[in-house]
Symmetry: C2
Subunit: 333 residues, 2 copies
């Protein structure tokens, strides 16, 4: 443990606690993202994997397994599987969104081409399925295969729902579960399953991941409109420009008068955006308290995540996971 | 059995023999390609699935399982899995190749957009993994997960290798195993495994699928240059225009003099193609006997497929599979 434990961020404390296992996950990722025959594959994956995501999702799997007492080797495979699914999804997302930057670096579709991103993403999906087979556990296979289907379904749903003003909070929640929470909840649940934890604990781990993922995504969507402070910094308004209907806008649309509704129809449904529209959108979000209401939802999901932990063993890891839920929403505190 | 059995094509005879099981496969495909949340998914998949491929790959799984005496229900799941993987691959291939037509119909990427093709392809991959988990058989899972990785690796390899004149017949064979034969051999092998067939029979089924798939792809590549007759019909020259280095060209390049080599460098490596280049390419293929040599290779692989069958039980299905190998190469006879 570091001397500054109390001021470290929860994810850093988890990283320190699980350092040896995370090193094994990283070694497995490096070994499995290689390709004997196609050198383009390690080029693309190295670019993405070494860009250094925070490894949040595999960390959740390791933490969940350890929290319920697992001392076998297979949480490492499952954690690597989860990161492969996540990385494959990022590659395809960047093609779909025509993104040019991720984590401050040029995206693979820009550096190579869309073809490489599509096919290397497919390769990583296939590698993830090879990895998830290795523990020989049918139930973790089902959970991860189901999560993969939910992710893809959520992405397709987002294609059609995000520019449709009829999209309500229920549909938003489906999209969010697909694009984010399904992998979070699978990550924590498989940790419990591989450990052979009692059913109530497995369910609690699932619920924690689900609620954490939803809170995480709502916060992301809030930050895209400048967060609680609503200052227009860099990257603010990406979702607006891409006409993605996220929670703050859904809440503002629900309270819109006729003029406001016409505005949202023009900028989101019709995609006719002009100078000053983002500023006007921010005014409408403010007028209807949409940012504050979405923030309250995020805090509520963080509380649900923490509540789920109460069914799990007392352990420093449990405290870190609880702090992690607070930390996720602290970005909009 | 139909009265015209002897003049029916082998695939039609297999379809008739396995009609009840193939109907179960089709019902399973229809059920699993739906989506509760995202209506775009069944739109895209119905367009592709109902375009009516010949269901060759799932038929191979059914035939393999039945040939070695399987009477359980799970060859149906495995056959549907194989077709889902194939369909997902087609969706992504059409994005990568920027195709506009498949099986005489507009491609999904043209009718909807690349985004839908990428994400619905991902959904079908995920659905295929859900399906392959259901029989609860670890070895079929490994075979199908490995095949998926080999397919994606072969596609990426093709991206870089196909416009590189250094690509030789060994690399071509790797690409072909990836893009075609890996799924054929997995399709037949899982049929044997789910039936609990002896190891020698499982290996023979794998070898049959592998050799059949290679013969199938060489024939496809030959037909793209007009087949044995080398008449320029419709669709002839697609591979040439897309600068794909296939077996006939590899053989011609290997025998090229300096002038001919400069031609291939210009049209394939540099992509500088002019009027009359396809005709000149066909002359070079003819001059070096490249079409005939590739055809001989295809016939040889068909013979290997048939030889593998000798280790399997005598059965009408075995005869049909043997005839199928002959039929595949009869297109260039």
């Amino acid at each position: 443990m570091g001397v500054n434990e109390n001021v470290q961020k929860p994810l850093d404390r988890l990283s320190e606690k699980l350092a040896a296992e995370m090193e094994a996950v990283n070694a497995l990722i490096r070994a499995r993202m290689s390709s004997r025959h196609a050198p383009r594959i390690p080029e693309v994956t190295a670019h993405l994997v070494e860009a250094g995501g925070k490894r949040l999702r595999p960390m959740l799997t390791l933490a969940a397994a350890r929290l319920v007492g697992y001392d076998g080797p297979y949480h490492v495979h499952l954690a690597a599987t989860v990161e492969f699914i996540h990385t494959a999804t990022l590659l395809h997302d960047d093609v779909v969104d025509e993104s040019r930057q991720r984590r401050g670096r040029a995206t693979a579709n820009l550096l190579w081409d869309n073809k490489s991103s599509v096919l290397v993403g497919d390769y990583l999906f296939a590698r993830s399925f090879q990895l998830m087979v290795e523990p020989g556990n049918m139930r973790t296979l089902e959970i991860l295969a189901n999560a993969s289907a939910t992710i893809a379904e959520g992405e397709v749903l987002q294609l059609t729902a995000s520019q449709d003003l009829a999209t309500d909070e229920n549909v938003y929640l489906q999209v969010v579960r697909g694009k984010t929470a399904a992998l979070f909840s699978a990550a924590t649940e498989v940790g419990g399953v591989i450990a052979g934890a009692p059913e109530a604990q497995v369910q609690a781990l699932h619920d924690y991941g689900d609620a954490l993922g939803i809170a995480f995504q709502i916060v992301d969507d809030l930050l895209d409109y400048g967060g609680a402070t609503q200052t227009i910094g860099k990257n603010v308004g990406d979702d607006f420009r891409e006409r993605k209907l996220t929670l703050p806008v859904i809440k503002a649309v629900a309270k819109a008068d006729a003029d406001e509704r016409a505005f949202w129809v023009r900028v989101i449904e019709e995609g006719d955006q002009r100078d000053g529209d983002l500023e006007h959108a921010l005014q409408l979000l403010s007028r209807h308290g949409a940012m504050q209401a979405a923030r309250a939802d995020a805090l509520d999901w963080a509380e649900r995540a923490k509540a789920a932990l109460s069914l799990l063993p007392r352990d420093p890891i449990r405290d870190m996971l609880s702090d992690l839920a607070d930390f996720v929403v602290s970005r909009v505190a």
